[in-house]
């Protein structure tokens, strides 16, 4: 760690990990509710568990991105953070807002939460992933603006690198596209457009810039390959990601009442969305093979390589599987979507945040890398989580294929619930994989507390 103010990233990372645990726990609750419908009823209904599961993910990833930016930008700009104090204040505001929101979800019915948070004044609630009360959304905007101000000021006063430029573009895009969540047209078609402009343009647009920048930063650090080489790749990857991702939004316009040409534009461009992910995998392996130093933090390198592979599989391959309009006609909104969602979020965004944490945490704790013992434990965490996520994805894919077959393709289609009974076995296997994922997460967290011979920073 070169600048003391980089240390503000630490509480962000710790809170992110805490929320990660909560996310996985609620995921397991939901997974069980798939097969035991009244599990924990009436205290935690399925829709509430799902809200907590997805919202906790989004919030902890945002925390991870913010922490990463607070760590990365000063180092790249070669200057102290504009205001470490602001960063800490915003951390507490964000954390308390997130905690209150989750308590709100769990304590009262959603309709009651909407009423007491004044949703009538500016209705924004009720849309998938954007369920947060309006006041929470306003809080997110305030935190994001303060964060961007802080980061941008640091960027402006220091050295400007390709990595920080791409990262800032991604972060500003993230904040700007979130504003669409405040607009809820009555027309359902238009409403869907605005909703996708947050959801899709986040994960298949600006977040990919953040992902690329973070990965490039860690790769420069752990491989020692020339910055020019890495930055060139970064530019190619983000250009491809932005073009395919933005026009690829069309794969969400297939069945919402948009003009028919979107079947073609959406299919063609989203079919190309794996290309930047493939480039990213090549990039990560290429840079590690050409490394000019043996960085003591082998765990961080492993996470970086894992990000490339899993992002390509989860976002690229599993996304492509059901992105063509004629295929999506059958698979839309089935467990295939869930399979893609799980591996894509884990492979792309969860893993890149952990890559960053894995690289930066030891440095913030005053050492170049954790002890060999701690790294071995961390790598166990990596493999347990990654392999179990592969199985979660495979079981959900199997469930999805069977679901599509029984419910939509068959000559004598079954009802939704009757189909669900038929695929219960896959849900059970997914739940077992989920438990192993939780074990992997616990092992990963334990690695932070494993002592042993450490290398000085």
């Amino acid at each position: 760690m070169k600048y003391t103010s980089q240390a503000v990233a630490k509480p962000y990372f710790i809170a992110a990990m805490g929320l990660f645990v909560a996310q996985v726990l609620f995921g397991l609750i939901m997974g069980l509710q798939y097969v035991i419908g009244d599990f924990l009823f009436p205290h935690i209904p399925f829709n509430v568990a799902r809200m907590v599961h997805t919202n906790a993910l989004i919030v902890w990833l945002l925390m991870g991105f913010m922490g990463s930016a607070y760590y990365l930008v000063p180092e790249e700009a070669e200057t102290e953070l504009h205001s470490p104090k602001l960063a800490l204040i915003l951390f507490w505001v964000f954390l308390i807002a997130a905690a209150l929101t989750v308590i709100g979800y769990l304590a009262v019915p959603y309709a009651t939460l909407a009423r007491i948070t004044g949703n009538d004044l500016l209705p924004t609630m009720g849309r998938e992933f954007l369920e947060q009360p309006t006041i929470t959304k306003i809080g997110i905007v305030i935190v994001a603006l303060g964060f961007l101000y802080n980061i941008s000021m640091t960027f402006l006063k220091g050295k400007k690198t390709a990595i920080t430029s791409v990262l800032l573009l991604g972060l500003w895009g993230l904040a700007i596209f979130f504003l669409f969540s405040f607009y809820n047209p009555h027309n359902l078609v238009r409403d869907k457009f605005y909703w996708w402009w947050v959801v899709h343009l986040w994960v298949e647009g600006v977040w990919e810039l953040i992902l690329g920048a973070l990965l490039a930063f860690v790769l420069i650090k752990v491989t020692g390959v020339d910055r020019e080489v890495i930055e060139k790749w970064l530019y190619v990857i983000v250009t491809l990601a932005l073009v395919t991702g933005m026009i690829g939004t069309g794969h969400h316009y297939f069945w919402i009442g948009a003009p028919e040409f979107w079947h073609w534009w959406g299919s063609i461009f989203s079919a190309l969305e794996p290309v930047p992910f493939f480039a990213m995998t090549l990039f990560a392996f290429n840079m590690v093979n050409r490394r000019r130093r043996e960085h003591p933090n082998r765990a961080a390198t492993l996470w970086a390589l894992g990000t490339g592979v899993m992002a390509f599989l989860g976002a690229g391959v599993w996304g492509f599987m059901h992105t063509l309009a004629p295929v999506n006609y059958y698979t839309h909104g089935t467990q295939i979507t869930a399979a893609h969602g799980h591996m894509a979020f884990y492979g792309a965004y969860v893993m890149v945040v952990i890559t960053m944490i894995s690289y930066a945490m030891p440095l913030m704790r005053g050492r170049a890398a954790n002890s060999n013992k701690a790294q071995v434990v961390e790598m166990w965490g990596f493999w347990l989580m990654t392999v179990s996520m592969v199985f979660i994805t495979l079981f959900l894919t199997a469930a999805g294929i069977l679901q599509v077959w029984l419910q939509r393709v068959s000559e004598t289609p079954m009802s939704f619930m009757a189909t669900q009974d038929q695929i219960a076995l896959f849900y059970w296997m997914r739940e077992v994989s989920g438990v192993i994922f939780l074990i992997g997460l616990v092992v990963y967290l334990i690695s932070f507390f494993v002592k042993g011979e450490e290398q000085a920073a």
Partner: protein, 194 residues
Amino acid sequence: MTAALSDPGEPPRLRGDLAIWVFILAELLAFGVFFAAYAVTRAYNVEAFNTAQAGLDRNIGAINTLLLISGSWCVVRAVQAARADRQTPAMRWMGVALLCGLGFLVAKVFEYQAKFALGLTMDSDTFHMFYFSLTFFHFMHVVLGVCILAILLFKLGRGAYGSHDVHGLETGAAYWHMVDLAWIVLFPLVYVMR
């Protein structure tokens, strides 16, 4: 057409930056998928496609092809002049290339205008959906290409390229040739072949 007119002693080399070539491959992949989609759809709607295609303006299409080919040739000459440190001819060639690109855009705008005047849009029928999609996708590439040529011209004027360094110039030139290459397939496919 005899090959090997360059210095035989020189090892094989990719002109332009590796990154632009990766990008060009991705671009060509996108065009290729679009072309394939057009061809497959046409195979099952031959009559409708042939009828609609007859309404296209092949004259403007051909003029645009000539403009792009000539633009590409000018860029080649500009690169060669820059390599020989002849800065003024290099700028002149690049200027003409830029005009060719702009001419393409102007002609295309007129072509679109005529189509819109007939009330034809992407929603009219499948052929016109493809016609507008493909040509507009290509149009945006010409826009980007023209911007790149303008930057190259500007940098040529500042003496940035010569026998000491033509890397940036070759990189931009490669992109422009890709725009040309895509149109060379697009023109017969969408405008002429039936």
